[in-house]
């Protein structure tokens, strides 16, 4: 476990040195959610209908912003080589790195979401479900994005390739996350989509670090 703490501590230290890395997705997220109502009538009931989708798609796009850079710096400065030669299992280091990335870039989005949702007119019970769905869903987005980042880390045009790769993989999280919030807003049972999200979370955080470590090893070969 000391290796996990070492990686977490290093990532927090780096985030403190480069605040723009974690602030950029948050600012982007706020801009998307704040600007959206200007495109429609403020009193338009459609805004309330679309609020779950706006908050969820905004979170997805904001989470995608920094994903390409997750492993780039570590590849450039030789850290990845050292990780893959370490006696600590590479999937564990990948897990720690992605967990730190979630903590720094996605957790602020989850915390900001209730304010944006209320501003968009989402009812209070649905806001609670929104936060829960983002708590379950954003790690799926980050771990999936991390896997795609590892696949493209050595590629010249990763900026184009990565969203194409990652969007189909992230779609289920948006479908179930948005679905749960929509159901809660309509006063319908919302548990089933959350269970799906939970299952997705369990799968992504346990399996994708292995796939990501394999992709990183492949990138160095």
């Amino acid at each position: 476990m000391s290796a996990v703490w070492a990686v977490l501590r290093r990532e927090l230290l780096l985030a403190a040195r480069h605040p723009s890395d974690w602030a950029q997705p948050l600012v982007f997220y706020a801009i998307v959610a704040v600007l959206f109502p200007f495109g429609v009538e403020v009193q338009d009931p459609a805004l309330k209908t679309f609020a779950p989708a706006i908050v969820w798609v905004g979170a997805l796009l904001a989470a995608l912003l920094g994903v390409e850079r997750i492993f780039r710096g570590d590849l450039d400065d030789g850290t990845l080589e050292q990780w893959l030669l370490s006696d600590v299992p590479a999937p564990l280091l990948v897990f720690a790195k992605l967990a730190a990335h979630w903590l720094l870039t996605a957790l602020p989005l989850v915390l900001a979401a209730p304010f944006l949702a209320i501003a968009l007119g989402l009812p209070a019970p649905a806001v609670k479900v929104l936060v829960l769905s983002l708590l379950l869903g954003t790690p799926c987005l980050i771990f999936t994005g991390g896997f795609a980042a590892a696949l493209t880390v050595g590629a010249q045009r990763a900026g184009i390739l990565l969203p194409i790769l990652v969007l189909p993989l992230m779609t289920p999280a948006v479908i179930f996350g948005g679905g749960a919030v929509r159901a809660a807003a309509a006063g319908l049972p919302f548990e089933a989509p959350l269970y799906f999200l939970g299952a997705l979370l369990a799968l992504t955080v346990t399996l994708l670090p292995f796939a990501t470590a394999g992709a990183l090893r492949n990138a160095l070969e």
Partner: protein
């Protein structure tokens, strides 16, 4: 628990870079206390061979019959493994913590290691603001802070000035005399005072 590796043996080793085979039918062994100097022209496959030997890439053919485990080796490639936003001390602390060194043990080894490579005064400066040679010295400090018997060094002399080369020679000499093994690539001939140096010329 496996006994520490005292010998690295390879036979029939082939190394490929992309579709191109760069080394074929290579067989040799290295024991602790020896220094293997891998020499060859540009593109001869020195770096690729070293990467295969330390486990960073797979051989195209042949096998490594015996060799060190990850916990027994240090790899120092063209990249130094130092984050440019962190200082030499922060980078070293990270690598020590990653490898399970308790904080008190890290405190005890850090200052002597930085002192030995001449970076004590620059320990808090971000590595991105150090010169190429100073970053190389910081990477060498990692070898001292985390003692391991097998060193795989790819062009370790690159970027070092004369005093840096003297420092590296001293480190290699001390490591080999202390029972460690070194496999390194270098265009330059190694200083004669180094003990147990064997040459592997990839041109032949």
């Amino acid at each position: 628990m496996t006994a520490p590796a005292t010998r690295l043996e390879v036979s029939g080793l082939a190394v490929a870079r992309g579709d191109r085979s760069v080394v074929e039918g290579l067989g040799f062994s290295v024991a602790t206390g020896e220094i293997l100097h891998i020499r060859g022209r540009n593109g001869a496959g020195k770096t690729s061979l070293l990467e295969v030997l330390c486990g960073l890439r797979h051989p195209a053919a042949g096998r490594i019959a015996s060799g060190p485990q990850p916990a027994e080796l240090h790899w120092l490639g063209h990249k130094n493994g130092l984050n440019p936003a962190l200082s030499a001390e922060e980078n070293l602390r990270f690598w020590c913590a990653l490898n399970g060194q308790p904080r008190a043990a890290v405190d005890a080894v850090l200052e002597p290691a930085l002192q030995r490579v001449g970076l004590k005064a620059l320990r808090h400066r971000p590595c991105g603001k150090l010169s190429t040679g100073q970053r190389r010295r910081a990477a060498l400090a990692r070898l001292l802070a985390l003692p391991r018997p097998w060193w795989f060094l790819d062009e370790p002399l690159a970027g070092l000035d004369q005093s840096g080369i003297e420092l590296l020679t001293d480190l290699l000499e001390a490591h080999a005399r202390g029972g460690g093994a070194v496999l390194l690539t270098s265009h330059q001939p190694l200083p004669e005072r180094l003990p147990g140096v064997r040459l592997l010329d990839l041109a032949r």
